[in-house]
């Protein structure tokens, strides 16, 4: 193993606690396990410490996600960060993000996060209208979101993401336009705009099965997507990934690590890692986790799957995949693997192949799963 070279690494910390579960959410998170906070923190800290070959890496991004990390006390977050700082080499301009929810953060907490080195916050708003927030099971109002945003700005955060969602039940095109227009007034550096996916094992799924959920048609969904793309572009945002928009230089570096198949280590319940061509996933059983039994599954990604991952992750980036990057990664020409698939998708108007770059067309973005499935 080569210790002289510092490999790039990103870190993800999972905080699986929420004040209450949103009705569409299938992420690994609990609203009834507050008694675990202390044991959980200890287990995460121990997991970070026991990570092998730490000296081999330099860490460029850290992402504290959840769940609702901002629900936790200042100490909880700071102790974990401190442990990371003590154990890893962190680069000077590292991007350190925390996910937050309105209501869970006050001025003191925000200042504390800032002081602990966090330099990017992501705030979940989802919708501008209080009645829609209620329908989707959010615990905050629009005003509480605004208060949260201001607290963050005042604490000195100059890289803020706002999460918004479209195709929500009872959400009209008007509602969506209002949401987009209102967040633009705040001038966030980054916007994530997700189309609602009705995931199995969520309350929404159950309602959907019972025909009790007002589902937005695909046609309206695409109108909403077109609107947000157009509006954000007009306001100087770059559409850099299917669901993500940023002011120049504020693209989320952590997420790009995922799309570009770079290495990352995940700590916490159900967290995922990708190191040395292997994907690891942690246990999703919190009682096991706090007993320091971390890893549940290890999967060596074979060559065929590696090609596929490279394609379906890379193509999520609007800039597309450079032919030469495929060759750099695998030492083989992309046409030797995917000539037919690329041609078929070009014929269907879903891909373009120009100047050594393969990327999704607008129609290809809308139908990206159709394209991706071809590369498996």
């Amino acid at each position: 193993m080569d210790y002289s070279e510092n490999n790039d690494l990103s870190l993800y910390i999972h905080v699986p606690f929420c004040a209450s579960k949103c009705l569409y959410c299938d992420f690994l998170s609990f609203s009834d396990k507050n008694a675990y906070f202390e044991d959980y923190k200890k287990a995460v800290i121990n997991e970070i410490k026991s990570f092998t070959n730490k000296q081999k890496y330099k860490v460029n991004t850290i992402f504290i996600g959840g769940g609702t990390p901002s629900l936790m006390s200042e100490n909880f977050i700071c102790d974990i960060l401190e442990c990371i700082y003590n154990n890893f080499h962190i680069t000077n301009n590292a991007e350190i993000t925390i996910e937050t929810n309105p209501v869970t953060v006050d001025k003191k907490k925000a200042n504390c996060f800032k002081k602990a080195g966090i330099n990017r916050v992501s705030i979940g708003l989802q919708a501008w209208q209080n009645h829609i927030l209620k329908i989707i099971g959010r615990i905050h109002t629009r005003d509480q979101f605004l208060e949260c945003f201001n607290i963050m700005r005042n604490a000195g955060f100059d890289n803020i993401n706002i999460d918004i969602m479209f195709s929500l039940p009872k959400q009209s095109e008007n509602d969506w336009e209002e949401t987009v227009e209102n967040i633009l007034v705040l001038e966030p550096e980054h916007v994530s705009a997700y189309s609602l996916i009705i995931e199995e094992k969520t309350p929404f799924y159950k309602l959907y099965e019972e025909n009790k959920l007002d589902v937005v048609s695909d046609d309206i969904d695409r109108n909403m997507y077109e609107f947000v793309k157009k509006k954000l572009k007009e306001n100087g945002y770059i559409h850099y990934e299917i669901s993500n928009f940023a002011k120049n230089g504020f693209e989320c570096r952590h997420n790009i690590v995922y799309w570009k198949r770079k290495e990352y280590a995940g700590f916490g319940l159900g967290a995922h890692s990708f190191i040395n061509g292997k994907r690891y996933s942690n246990t999703i059983n919190i009682d096991e986790y706090i007993k320091f039994n971390y890893i549940a599954e290890t999967e060596k990604i074979g060559l065929r799957d590696s090609y596929a991952e490279f394609m379906f992750l890379g193509l999520r980036m609007i800039e597309g995949i450079e032919r030469k990057s495929f060759k750099n990664e695998f030492g083989i020409d992309i046409d030797n693997v995917y000539k037919n698939e690329i041609e078929k998708n070009i014929k269907n108007g879903l891909l373009t192949d120009k100047n050594g770059v393969i990327k999704l067309t607008n129609k290809g973005i809308d139908l990206s799963n159709v394209v991706f499935a071809e590369f498996l």
Binding site: R222, F274, A308, D366, A373
Partner: protein, 604 residues
């Protein structure tokens, strides 16, 4: 004075409507007869197929021998022969009853006499059986034994004043049933020295012993080594084993004599050699006349059965062959469909039979199936004088060479509460029914008689009837004959290509409506593609209905699921897998479920 051997035998069956407690009473009688300990007692000993238990009905007739000591301390042998409980198996029921000398009629003390009960009571009376009414479930709060007694007398014409009032479930008055059976059902009076004359009432294939033949010996004796002959099939065999039916198992014995009920094995490989209703006799010394009532049963309903995965064709063949070992009325032959590939055209006694076979194939043989719309057999008279029996719509000749077509018609009886007469008459009218008459059974119940084309009831008639009458109607039919009808073949086109597996034959006047509904259904089933897909219904070259599946606008995963790339990959793999399982019609991928969904064209 001691009784003779035959005087101590009673052969009987239990007749009941589907949930009036036949199996419970049988269980209770088995338990009371002392042959079985509590521990051995399965919940329902007679219904030993898993499928039957779930449906709550009995498919194959079986029998059990009970030993009962009555109040005079005399030990009797009571052979209880079970009967299937559905109109599809009418013939089997009649043969089971023919093996008996009497029947216990179980009537629910709350529900009273139901249509199905009636049909079987008539069968029993046709077979000249002594029928003993028994009123069950008298422990229910809603029990009205006096009303039910009157009903039995009014509707069936049986004296019910002394009918035992029992609860099989709560074990009330079961001994009275035994006493009645012994007292009122005549004992057999066969001649055990005469040539063998035995009635086959069931048979099934056992992997070790070959076909096991269930029979009632009317005359003569059979034992190991007896050379036997089946009179209808003229097949001869040498008896290997005889025995009787213990609860849940076979008990071999030395010989079976006149009056007894039991089984024989003779290294018989093919269940179709041992037809239900056939007479078993001695090869060397045959009886002069076979028992009357035998008939060869013919399928009434046909459909195509295809493996969802084409590679499972051989597995499907093996499974059908195995089912056929035990089910001589199941027929099949290879069929090829452009849309569905290689499969089989299968013939069934009726819709329930079809459903049971389909479920058994899926459940017991783990096969994923695609079934095409059921069809009946049409008679097609050609201009050149030929006549064709058509069971597969795809084989229909060009209309220009057809002189006329005939379709099978059944005479149907629907017994229902009078409140629903209007809505059911309307249903029968929609289904081209010919009104024959109506009788009131009592003030609130009537029997409606219609002649109905069979092809109008093989789709969803039962379901619609049930929903229109909230389950209160019962339905019985038998084939009446063929009559001329203006029939056309309706084709479905997906993206302008005919899908042969979806073609069906329909009356001219219903074609447009059926075509429209089919197109609507298909529209719902076929997923959006990258391009627009027209779905059309056509008769010949004439398009009679059209729907459009508009082009797909969205298929995208918005979220990234943290770093869980494996999950994303699996989702995409599932999507790809799903595509593989679809049927390719030209450039359109049609899910298997589309072929099935068009079978259910709800009226409501």
């Amino acid at each position: 004075m001691s009784l003779s051997r035959q005087e101590k035998i009673r052969n009987f069956s239990i007749i009941a409507h589907i949930d009036h407690g036949k199996s419970t009473l049988a269980d209770r009688m088995i338990q009371k007869s002392g042959l079985l300990t509590e521990r051995e007692m399965q919940e329902q000993v007679l219904d030993n197929m898993e499928l039957e238990r779930e449906r709550g009905i009995t498919i194959k007739a079986q029998a059990v021998r009970l030993v009962y000591k009555n109040s005079d301390d005399e030990e009797y042998i009571l052979n209880l022969i079970d009967t299937p409980g559905h109109v599809d198996f009418n013939y089997e029921v009649s043969r089971s009853l023919a093996a008996c000398d009497g029947a216990v009629l179980v009537v629910d003390a709350a529900q009273g006499v139901e249509a199905q009960t009636l049909a079987n009571v008539y069968l029993a009376l046709d077979n000249e059986l002594e029928v003993i009414p028994v009123i069950n479930k008298i422990d229910l709060p809603s029990a009205e034994p006096e009303r039910v007694k009157d009903e039995i007398e009014d509707i069936i014409g049986l004296d019910a004043q002394n009918a035992p009032l029992i609860s099989a479930k709560a074990d009330i008055n079961i001994d009275e049933v035994f006493e009645k059976v012994i007292k009122e059902i005549p004992s057999p009076k066969g001649d055990e020295t005469a040539p063998l004359k035995a009635l086959i009432f069931d048979s099934f294939y056992d992997a070790y012993k070959g076909v096991i033949v269930f029979m009632r010996i009317f005359d003569g004796t059979v034992k190991k080594g007896t050379k036997i002959k089946f009179m209808a099939t003229e097949k001869e065999f040498e008896t290997v084993e005889v025995g009787f039916f213990g609860p849940g198992r076979f008990i071999p014995c030395d010989e079976l004599k006149a009056g007894e009920v039991g089984y024989l094995t003779a290294s018989i490989k093919n269940v179709s050699d041992t037809r239900i209703g056939d007479t078993v006799t001695e090869a060397q010394r045959p009886t002069e006349n076979a028992l009357s009532g035998y008939k060869k049963v013919n399928p009434m309903v046909y459909c195509g059965i295809f493996p969802a995965d084409g590679a499972k064709y051989q597995d499907l063949r093996d499974a059908l062959e195995k089912l056929q070992l035990n089910d001589a009325s199941l027929q099949f032959e290879p069929e090829t469909s452009v849309a569905l590939g290689f499969g089989f055209r299968c013939g069934f006694l009726g819709l329930l039979h079809l459903e049971i076979v389909q479920e058994r194939l899926e459940r017991e043989y783990n096969l994923d199936l695609v079934t095409t719309a059921p069809s009946v057999i049409y008679k097609i008279y050609m201009t050149n004088g030929d006549m064709i029996n058509l069971s597969n719509p795809s084989d229909m000749p060009d209309p220009s060479v057809i002189l006329k077509m005939e379709e099978p018609v059944v005479s149907a009886e629907i017994i229902l509460p009078s409140d629903y007469i209007g809505t059911v008459m309307e249903l029968c009218q929609q289904r081209r029914g010919e009104y024959i008459g109506m009788d009131y059974l009592e003030q609130t119940r009537a029997v409606l008689k219609y002649n109905l084309p069979l092809n109008e009831i093989i789709y969803d008639f039962f379901d619609v009837l049930k929903s229109r009458t909230r389950g209160y109607a019962s339905f019985d039919y038998e084939l009446k004959g063929y009559q001329e009808a203006k029939l056309v073949k309706l084709d479905m086109l997906v993206n302008r290509e005919v899908v042969d597996a979806l073609s069906f034959i329909v009356h001219e006047q219903n074609a447009a409506d059926r075509g429209r509904k089919m197109a609507e259904k298909l529209k719902k089933e076929i997923p959006r593609h990258l391009f627009e897909i027209p779905i059309q219904a056509a008769i010949g070259n004439k398009i009679i209905a059209r729907e459009t599946v508009s082009a797909m606008r969205k298929d995208v995963l918005a979220k990234c699921y943290g770093g869980d790339i494996t999950r994303k990959r699996k989702l995409l793999e599932k999507q790809k897998e799903g595509k593989k399982r679809m049927r390719q019609i030209g450039s359109v991928e049609v899910p298997q479920s589309a072929f099935m969904s068009v079978l259910k064209l709800d009226d409501e």
